[in-house]
Symmetry: C2
Subunit: 191 residues, 2 copies
């Protein structure tokens, strides 16, 4: 998505440790009109596919998941990090290592909201080494739901997670794929 690549170039900053900061529009301040455009683009990329639910993970996946769901008219389920007092009953869960924060956490989804009849698109803001997405795929497996595909706003292609999922036959589409980045330049993969 050309407009997203341009926005990353104009507003993004590269921090040490291959962290791309896009807090001005994607994960601290949210440019909601632009998010809705991204939602439309995801809807277009997966048009013709039967999807009745979107799965994402808190926190920063929620915004783009809602933008896409508003266009597809399907509900969003977001995995919670660690179990809270508000999440009673049976849950599906997966252990995930966070590259950005350098810690491990448990992603949890209530069994009430995913089941055998669900045909699910996984959405997240970032795809780097793919650990969060793999956790969500494991949760879909526990629920007996069908994985339709994966769509992320920004894929860090050089960290390999997206290509490793594609090699397993999973339909992974990203709105922008970064092949390399430094504090002076960002190179996108041609799509």
């Amino acid at each position: 998505m050309k407009a997203l690549e341009e926005k990353i170039l104009s507003e993004g900053t590269v921090l040490p440790g291959s962290i791309l900061k896009v807090g001005s529009f994607l994960n601290h301040q949210l440019d909601v009109d632009f998010l809705m455009e991204m939602g439309k683009e995801i809807c277009r990329l997966f048009s013709g596919r039967e999807i009745n639910k979107i799965l994402t993970i808190e926190t920063s996946g929620i915004a783009i998941a809602i933008a896409c769901a508003a266009e597809m008219h399907v509900p969003v389920v977001f995995a919670k990090k660690n179990k809270t007092g508000n999440l009673s009953g049976d849950v599906y869960s997966a252990d995930i290592h966070s590259y950005t924060h350098g810690n491990d956490y448990k992603a949890v989804v209530s069994c009430d909201y995913l089941g055998k009849d669900d045909k699910v698109l996984i959405i997240d803001d970032f795809l780097a080494n793919g650990k969060a997405i793999e956790g969500l795929i494991s949760i879909l497996g526990q629920a007996g739901s069908t994985l339709v595909g994966v769509c992320c706003a920004v894929e860090k292609g050089f960290q390999g997670g997206g290509d490793s999922l594609r090699a397993r036959g999973i339909d992974v589409k990203s709105l922008a794929v970064i092949d390399s980045m430094s504090d002076t330049s960002i190179t996108f993969r041609a799509q």
Copy 2:
């Protein structure tokens, strides 16, 4: 908002400790079409007021904030709980006690995304004792931004936070106000 009251009655469950579980549509699974309707209603309630930004707090305030922002065509800023490696530079912050989780946390907003020219509507999913909202108001004060008003989806009127803010002259509107609840009944305040 009558449709919200009906949805709370049909899908909500009251857990011990005056916790209202609305995970089927508001804070675990998200009924996005219904959220967009709530966003339109908030936009209607504050029509004629000059608002150029929405402030909320992660996680479950984000969904309804986006729904409203999509209608108002303004950006959302969400306060983060505790500071992460991804949030560099100067921040505004407030210490908040969570009633639901029984712990204290720090809400943080980067100084890049709030300033003197901002006219801000605060949005959240729940308003109980009002501690989270007071933290966000403190952050607006630090930024020199103007507080236009506060809108929450569900106010637990019996916990007093909303009325205490109103007594300070703050324009607080909630889509549904619960005056009392037990595991067998929920009574709404007439609006």
